[in-house]
Symmetry: C2
Subunit: 354 residues, 2 copies
């Protein structure tokens, strides 16, 4: 069966209406409010046929129709009317990101918060993979009790490990020297390259091979994603949506969002090439809880990955709003981080003397 224009129009009305009201929509209301030139009976015929095509479902015979996941997908891809945010919202984004430092933790938190505030849904953010970050500085700081703190600074991110054990015989001065050597060795390297230079580096450290081993292990550990990189914002926002008047839904939802692992899984395996990715519960992705929808975007600026951010909420989500917010936040980030990047590059150019 072909999708006539009228079918599309009606489907769009159903989805729009349902997103706004959360009430199953009836043929009568469509005919009265939106398609005044035909009768409810005609609409009814169209609805029946849309149902046959898999776009609509009914809870019970007399309950109006509700869009299926397939309908949402079609809506997002073809039907949704484009439009931008209000001045107020754009302003909010602008102000939120002005004067932010280049610390990745702050960035992830504030991006996540902005998205949650503007969309009125719970938002999740996960920082960029550390793999490709290049080491800017690295130091071993003595703690005076047989331990040293390993600090690693990269372009967008400060990493640190718990303490590293150092031999009792190692003096503060030796530690300092080791620190300098290590800094020289690793400066400019990406974390993903550590493995490749491992053997070479170890060879240089005859006496303090063990310390170096620990340092390398710590560095390698940062290429794995960490719980701390996952940020949640606006968990309480789900209560603003009537599907979460039901305790079981809340339970389900809360169980998922209280596990950073699960969140990371849901958000994480995005295809980087898709700018906006929509996963609808159970049908697209078995990690996404049933009855939930996840919309994510992976941001980057100046060729640098800035992490993946998104919104998690009911399938009946205001996709238009959410997608528009995600797009605009992306643009804003690109602008701000992009301009910062430029400054940095210039300075780097000046400073560099190799």
């Amino acid at each position: 069966m072909k999708m006539s224009d009228r079918k599309k129009k009606i489907l769009q009305i159903v989805v729009d209406e349902y997103i706004n009201t959360a009430v199953p929509v009836s043929s009568k209301s469509i005919a009265e409010k939106h398609l005044t030139d035909v009768s409810s009976a005609t609409v009814r015929n169209e609805l029946a046929s849309l149902e046959e095509l898999g776009y609509l479902t009914q809870f019970h015979t007399s309950g109006g129709r509700v869009p299926s996941p397939q309908a949402y997908r079609f809506y997002i891809e073809e039907l949704m009317e484009k439009g931008n945010l209000s001045e107020k919202d754009l302003d909010y984004i602008e102000r939120a990101f002005s004067g932010k430092s280049n610390d990745v933790e702050h960035l992830v938190k504030s991006v996540s918060k902005v998205i949650s505030e503007l969309t009125d849904y719970t938002s999740v953010g996960i920082g960029p993979h550390a793999d490709e970050e290049r080491i800017k500085n690295i130091a071993l700081l003595s703690c005076g009790d047989g331990n040293a703190l390993l600090v690693i600074v990269t372009g967008m991110r400060i990493l640190r490990d718990s303490f590293i054990e150092i031999p009792e015989s190692m003096t503060d001065e030796e530690l300092e020297n080791a620190s300098k050597v290590i800094a020289k060795l690793f400066e400019g390297k990406a974390l993903s390259e550590i493995k490749e230079v491992e053997d070479e580096v170890l060879a240089e450290f005859g006496q303090y091979r063990q310390v170096m081993h620990e340092v390398i292990d710590a560095l390698k550990s940062y290429t794995r994603p960490r719980d701390e990189d996952v940020v949640l914002s606006g968990a309480e926002k789900i209560f603003n949506h009537p599907e979460y008047d039901d305790i079981d839904n809340v339970k389900n939802f809360l169980t998922v969002i209280s596990s950073k692992d699960k969140l990371a899984e849901i958000i994480g395996d995005d295809n980087d090439e898709i700018q906006i990715n929509v996963k609808i519960g159970s049908c697209d992705d078995k990690e996404v809880p049933e009855d939930c929808s996840v919309v994510t975007a992976t941001y980057s600026a100046g060729g640098k990955n800035l992490g993946t951010y998104g919104v998690i909420g009911p399938i009946r989500m205001d996709y238009h709003k959410v997608i528009t917010v995600l797009e605009n936040v992306g643009k804003a980030l690109e602008g701000i981080v992009g301009s910062k990047k430029k400054e940095t590059d210039n300075k780097d150019g000046k400073d560099k003397d190799e």
Copy 2:
């Protein structure tokens, strides 16, 4: 009216029973299960009198009785039977804290997790005030783009700030020297003492006064409590308790626990001298949400504050279990951190050369 022994006994039965079953307890069940030597009518008379004293309330005439907050308080102070944890639980605690590093973030997280797992309630932890921490090491690490990272290491805690701006004219070498001078200046000082030495320190830095200003500001900022210090564990655990089958209660609860500020307020203003502190919703503390109860303990080891930890849940809480867990975790921490402290002290002694 005086509290006869029998009244106490009956009150204890009511509280115990209600904590276990969450069902209002009736005179009949008390007479049948616990006080077989008197009739339900007698119990009824006692219950009526306990109600008059303010220890019990009824939702409706035929609904059995429920303990009032006052009853819980009395129960905790006088009636509750003491007893220790099972071997299994003690083992769990033991294992959880073995091999932990002295990084405060890890500590707070794992303590909070252990408490939540063992009590089956949501747990909150807040790290120790940084005020009294003594600086062990401090460094400025160049990031190569007009910024430097300030890293501060203290005994129990690693602090770090976002980047600090440094003058363009400052070379890496100068920065390194400044870093060394700063380390010497502040080593051994408590964060709370920064203010006192501020002027003196600034005087030493003719050329790079501005950098020093930023460093001092950053240091001072750490004496204020920060959101990041508050940790939440087992939020989903509330669903294991029937009072949270009600959506409004869940909403209330979730709204509170998703704000780190609110959590800090609830947990934070403990009197340090009280080992275990119980706050019952609205009657003890207006920060604690109504219908909620918060039990906290402030831990310390070797004279060092280790933070405040606790449990938040329904007023009908298993106080005995919770308090026992908190006590045992406290003891375990004291043992472990205490022994670590000793090691550290010895080494410090060796190393010190002033």
